[in-house]
Subunit: 218 residues, 2 copies
């Protein structure tokens, strides 16, 4: 068993790695939606190409977590901290996949003019990014209040998604020619809604880590 | 450190729990798609109501994994086995959520006659179910060959999804009145495609567990 200080240092390094991964994921979400709104093919491609880095980060952090468990044999609370880290990185990795899916949609519809300027979808993306940031802050600071805030943000993203959904359905009914693009945008909106769900998962995990209680936030 | 036999027994129990959870998830997928194809509201509701049980199973198994790590302090390979279990249950839980989403779609469109009898979507569901079953068999038996089979199955589900997608787009263009239902079916198909992705994740994890190599299967 290593000293407490060594362990704390390793744990703090782990958290820094997770924060770094989070920043990367946030950035992917932002760029994916920007590539969609601005019909920027090369930006979309950069998100798609960057996904492998998110996957690599996940694997690296997972290996570190396992090594930390194996070599330091942490007790209850510390073990939960590391387990929370393991779960958080799977959520982050899924968010990265979803950002990548949005970029693929951007690539697919880049050759046709947009039905209308995108407003709600970029708003959803901004909210989702804030959620990722705050969820990870809540993890590092073990801040239950901040973790619980995910519930309200998630509801906001959900209601924006429903609005986008209804609006796009109306567009499609009025003009069947734009169905292809409208369904593409519909999926992009849905992906953002899922990203917010993953951030909410992280919030739930932090509540469990700190309080020992399982609470559904969405 | 407990005896090897005690540990093996605990690990085998853990695997049984995971298999049980898998059977529950498989069943949810089957019932969700049946409720969609047969427009069976009460079947759809049973899937939605059952999701909380899947969530409970996940939490229970997660707690068991952590307790096992904390009390038995397993070394490298055993630790990896348990970590694989931890990751697999998050994939299973997500599949449960997606089955639940499909049931919600079934509930939403139950009051309108189906555009056409569903053929490809139930086929996708059947494939996805087989993938879940085989992925978990591969985990318990540490069977790399079976785990690698996920790649081919996943490709099949992807191509069915693309087929459904194209077909529904054509339907919508021909008759804008059915856009609402067609987009609902499109999402159901997409959810199945994601379920297959999660099964593929499990396959990747098993390859890593047994060979130590990270391999992308989709």
């Amino acid at each position: 068993m290593a000293t407490r200080t060594t362990f704390d240092q390793a744990l703090s390094e782990l958290q820094q790695d997770i924060l770094q991964m989070g920043i990367f994921v946030e950035d992917s979400i932002a760029r994916a939606v920007e590539s969609l709104a601005k019909q920027d093919l090369s930006l979309a491609q950069s998100v798609i190409d960057g996904d492998v880095q998110i996957d690599d980060q996940e694997m690296l952090i997972e290996d570190k977590c396992l090594k930390l468990i194996a070599t330091q044999q942490p007790l209850a609370k510390d073990l939960r901290r590391i387990a929370a880290g393991l779960m958080i990185i799977t959520d982050l990795e899924r968010m990265g996949d979803l950002a990548c899916d949005i970029a693929k949609i951007a690539r697919r519809i880049a050759d046709q003019p947009l039905i209308k300027p995108l407003i709600d979808i970029p708003r959803m993306a901004q909210l989702a990014q804030t959620m990722v940031k705050e969820a990870l802050d809540a993890y590092v600071r073990e801040d239950v209040e901040l973790a619980l805030k995910m519930a309200a943000d998630d509801e906001l993203v959900d209601s924006l998604h429903n609005q986008v959904f209804r609006e796009l359905l109306v567009y499609m009914m009025e003009n069947p020619k734009i169905i292809n693009q409208a369904t593409a945008l519909l999926f992009a909106s849905r992906h953002l809604e899922r990203i917010a769900d993953h951030a909410t998962n992280i919030g739930e995990r932090i509540v469990y880590l700190v309080t020992g209680e399982r609470k559904e936030l969405n």
